[in-house]
């Protein structure tokens, strides 16, 4: 644990010690404000209790739990393992496919099932499409946090195209229930590959356009560079993951460092923040990491589409799924970071215990640490750059 940051000297006030021009002592005080749960930029029902001295933030205390839905308890009370999957969708509703992926992976590893290669490729394609969709929400709403509304709609326009691909595949646009244990709910429709290739071709110039509009905008850079700096050691100590961690310059991506699916057969590289505009680990770095990850995802999708083998999309699995008694922890790289499911089986048809390690929750815990000494406007940006989804934070 790093030592607590002290406020920069120019921000330190001395309550009760300010003299007015007439010589009176003016009483100044810290003020406590509640940002949220109904506030436009807490990205859901997060409540931030902020102690401010004027516009300067002295402390931030996040209060969570407004969206607690007893996911873990529900998981224990299903009649079988498959029924948990739709609940996983609802953890991170912006990246449902990635949540399913973690859970399905955990159960498959417990059962020691090998899934067909086609399934793995389709899973990679879907997970990366979902990653783009999720990052689009993240950078779009981040634009709103910075006061630019237009990039948000550009992002949503492109996300819509991805959702149409999903709809074409499994009928759902937000919560898919598409990855099943040992396979998928449906095979890809015949026109999917062409449409997905079309999307990749269309999307690459759009990233550049988005960067021109927002990322390299002078005002935006001024607002985000050197703000909310998350040093490497703090990031590691708080167990941050995903773009939060990579933004701080730590080269760690589960897709490469704890390979699952067929990521090891595909050529790509994790993107890290380099402090191009300010300090390594500032808000701008986290933003640019998301932008560049989208480019990488497009690369992955294109390669996976090219290498997509034919075959069955369902492995042979037992009729009744009863893993042997034991435990497993399986993790995947979701758009928000490391999502792991720790499942304990007692040999029965339902999980004995399911624990989700939610990256948004862990990343949120670092928020007070990096917000102190900034301004309210900075806090909004920092909270936006953490990219929380309250469904996942509260579970």
């Amino acid at each position: 644990m790093s030592e607590t940051k002290t406020l920069p000297t120019e921000y330190v006030s001395h309550p009760g010690e300010i003299k007015s021009s007439l010589g009176h002592t003016v009483r100044t005080d810290e003020m406590i404000i509640n940002m949220g749960p109904q506030h436009p930029s807490t990205h859901g029902v997060l409540r931030l209790e902020i102690v401010v001295d004027g516009e300067i933030i002295v402390d931030v205390i996040p209060h969570i739990g407004y969206l607690h839905r007893c996911f873990e308890k529900h998981a224990e009370h299903m009649t079988n393992y498959q029924q948990v999957i739709p609940y996983c969708d609802r953890l991170d509703y912006c990246a449902a496919i990635n949540e399913e992926h973690s859970y399905v992976l955990a159960v498959e590893r417990m059962l020691k099932i090998e899934v067909p290669e086609r399934v793995e490729y389709i899973r990679v394609i879907m997970a990366e499409l979902q990653r783009i969709a999720s990052h689009l929400i993240a950078v779009g709403t981040f634009g709103i946090d910075a006061g630019a509304f237009t990039p948000f709609l550009y992002a949503f326009h492109d996300r819509e195209l991805i959702l149409s691909l999903f709809e074409m595949t499994c009928g759902a646009r937000l919560l898919y229930n598409y990855f099943w244990i040992g396979g998928l709910s449906h095979d890809l429709p015949p026109q999917f590959v062409d449409k997905a290739k079309e999307f990749c071709t269309y999307f690459k110039p759009r990233i550049k356009e988005f960067n021109d509009l927002l990322t390299y905008n002078e005002i935006f850079v001024k607002r985000t560079a050197n703000v909310g700096v998350l040093p490497q050691d703090v990031a590691i100590n708080f167990a941050c993951s995903g773009p939060m961690l990579r933004g701080s310059g730590v080269n760690w991506d589960l897709r490469r460092d704890d390979p699952y699916s067929v990521y090891h057969k595909i050529e790509w590289e994790p993107k890290i923040g380099k402090g191009e505009m300010g300090t390594v680990g500032d808000v701008w770095d986290r933003h640019i990491v998301r932008m560049r990850e989208m480019e990488e995802s497009v690369k992955i999708i294109e390669q996976a589409l090219a290498a997509l083998p034919a075959g069955n999309v369902q492995a042979a699995i037992p009729k009744r799924i009863r893993p042997d008694a034991g435990e497993i922890y399986a993790r995947t790289e979701t758009p928000r970071g490391e999502l792991g499911f720790y499942i304990i089986s007692d040999g029965s048809g339902t999980p004995y215990r399911v624990k989700g390690r939610a990256p948004a929750f862990v990343n949120l815990s670092v928020l007070p640490e990096i917000s102190r000494g900034g301004m309210i406007a900075d806090l909004v940006l920092i909270a936006g750059s953490v990219d929380i989804v309250l469904g996942q934070v509260d579970r």
């Binding site: 003020m31 404000i33 506030h39 436009p40 930029s41 516009e55 634009g143 709103i144 946090d145 910075a146 006061g147 630019a148 509304f149 237009t150 709609l153 550009y154 326009h157 509009l213 927002l214 905008n217 005002i219 935006f220 001024k222 607002r223 301004m375 309210i376 406007a377 900075d378 909004v380």
Partner: protein
Amino acid sequence: MEAFQNLGFWGTLLVTIVLSALPLVFVLLYALVTIYLEMKVAAHVQDRVAYMRTGWHGVLQPIADFIKLIQKEDIISVAANKKLFILAPYIVFMGTYGAYAAIPFSSIFIGANIDLGAFFIIGISSLVVVGILMAGWASNNKWSIFGAVRSAAQMISYEIPTALAVLIAVMITGSLNLQEVTKFQAGGIQNWLIFGGPLPLLQKILITPFTLITFLILFVASLAEVNRTPFDLPEAESELVQGFFTEYSGMRWALFYVAEYANMFLVAGVAVALFLGGWESPFGSFLSGPIWGLFWFIIKGMVLVFLQIWLRWTLPRLRVDQLMYTSWKVLTPFLFVCIIAIGLILVL
């Protein structure tokens, strides 16, 4: 106004009321048009179509919005200071509308042809700050207070560059009367103050870069005066919810809104009168005259309003310290340089 001198008390009163209501009609019509324009421009910037169902391409939507706002319940929160809360929107609107008195719409129509026109506008539009502070304080809401204080700091800071830019125009034309300033720029686009005004050629060539910069600074400062992006901190939605009018709803809220839009045209109008030739036709005597004058003034003003809208839907927002930095360390020093340079050139 000489024509109305022999009407007696009641006649004068009637004429005064009618004449002073004319800008009000304009402001209300303009607000409806601009709200529509804002939504449509925003939509097209964002690759959407905006409202299409109320009338042809949704032209009736502002009216529908207006009717809806009238019907809304008038909510005043229990903890609010009721008197100030009710009074605030009127003061804001008054400050804005009062300034319209000295705006020269046409060669024959100006509410009050006073010699200190430009000064009067700067002075009376400062009343808006009082109204905003009042609204923020009376709402008894921490976010509103934040918005109000930010707004006060911002408007007061940006009055300096605005006033300095006005001063430059006054230095060149030698008058604070906006009619005089406009007439000074007669004779076509090359005589506008933004291009140095009708000065001898050498002076004109020397002075043009400085007047261009002054106009740009005036435009930027006016964005801050009317709380538009990138200076929309007082109502920064993602930070302060709605800023100083968070607690307002219905017609009171609409009054703030109308005042804001009226303010947009006001600052555009001042910039037009000072630097873009006011109601003078850009083609010299071609298409000039009182009615054409009105047309040119409104067209030029609306172009600037369009620019404001365009910027709003493109740029992110500055932070408080950056806002102050821009005003005190960038705009104001530049204007001082311009003042000295223009002063020297004029003495030449």
